[in-house]
Symmetry: C2
Subunit: 204 residues, 2 copies
């Protein structure tokens, strides 16, 4: 069995959202699993110098482009009331949950994305996260425990360090074996790449 596709993302990233909505189905077409890995894009920008939030025309374009990309992909999107969002606790709940149940963690991540980018609601605080985590079986106690979980913090740091070392500088970034794909707009190429691989062509 081939290794899972590594899906590195940040909840506050406008382009991570449509990728999160589509990545499992793209991978599934080729019999591949997806390893979901939320990290801090803000820290990644600091580590690489690749941020663009200081370029006004680029920031303005990105807001329009991300909304248009969602419309093009058929993903409902609402510009969040709070942007960027402090996604630290959401990430911690994810990594804490993943220790015992990776699929539950994935469903939690999708619920956070749906609430933040689908409905436009802030998801930085414990009670906000509890409202969407409860129906999945993640309790307020679980969320409190996640905030203090040193193992969850270490798991996120390890994922961040690995992605940075592998060449990540923006989000979302997917790794298919050693091949890196940056952006929700690279899902078509990732799909094509997996098909070429399956046909024994090995891509380019």
């Amino acid at each position: 069995m081939a290794d899972p596709i590594k899906f590195n993302f940040d909840f506050t990233s406008a382009y991570s959202y449509p990728a999160a909505c589509k990545i499992d189905s793209v991978a599934g077409r080729h019999g591949r699993e997806v390893d979901w890995r939320p990290i801090s894009l803000g820290h990644m920008f600091k580590a690489t110098g690749a941020g663009f939030l200081t370029v006004p025309t680029k920031l303005k374009y990105a807001a329009r482009d991300a909304a248009r990309l969602c419309a093009y992909l058929g993903v409902r999107q609402t510009m969040p009331k709070v942007f960027p969002m402090d996604g630290k606790l959401a990430r911690r709940v994810f990594w804490h949950t993943k220790t015992s149940d990776a699929d539950l963690a994935r469903r939690f991540a999708l619920a956070v994305f749906d609430a933040y980018w689908g409905d436009g609601n802030d998801m930085s605080k414990a009670e906000q996260l509890a409202s969407i985590a409860g129906p999945l079986g993640i309790t307020a106690d679980d969320i409190a425990a996640a905030g203090d979980d040193a193992e969850a913090k270490a798991a996120e740091q390890a994922a961040f360090d690995e992605a940075l070392e592998a060449g990540m500088f923006g989000a979302p970034t997917m790794f298919v074996d050693d091949e890196m794909f940056w952006g929700a707009d690279r899902l078509d190429q990732l799909d094509w790449w997996l098909g070429e691989k399956a046909a024994g062509m090995g891509g380019i």
Copy 2:
């Protein structure tokens, strides 16, 4: 008749090349013309602060990504021996030619792209440009005249100023009426956008 799509590009831009190979056919499907406008991406980076050549991992990724994008789009590509290239004379020949024959200027631009990004040959010098311009009917004398043509220089500057004012920060950048699309990877969305417009939906 709708206004032409404005196609702003730079000969030395890896992503402008596949866009140049595809833009006319995408526009043609919707009965739209394309107004080709070569400008200096280096000057655009300086004017906006949006350059990324100082971020090593991003530069490394872009080289791989541009080659992969060409493979995905079925466009042959060779990493040029000289990169980035000084495309000033090629741009001047284009704008000089466009004064009397816009379609000939377009065919010249495609020939420059094919020689530079298809074959990987430097196209910065007059004799190199003459070798591909000659078969189109653009002579060495025309190329020499273009280099000294103040009107061609002013036309390029006007196109640059207009694109900068309209929000351009990278290449290629296409404007469909007031809607901006940045990147060869936005041709699919530009195609979709024109279709939505034609259906009276007006996009998003």
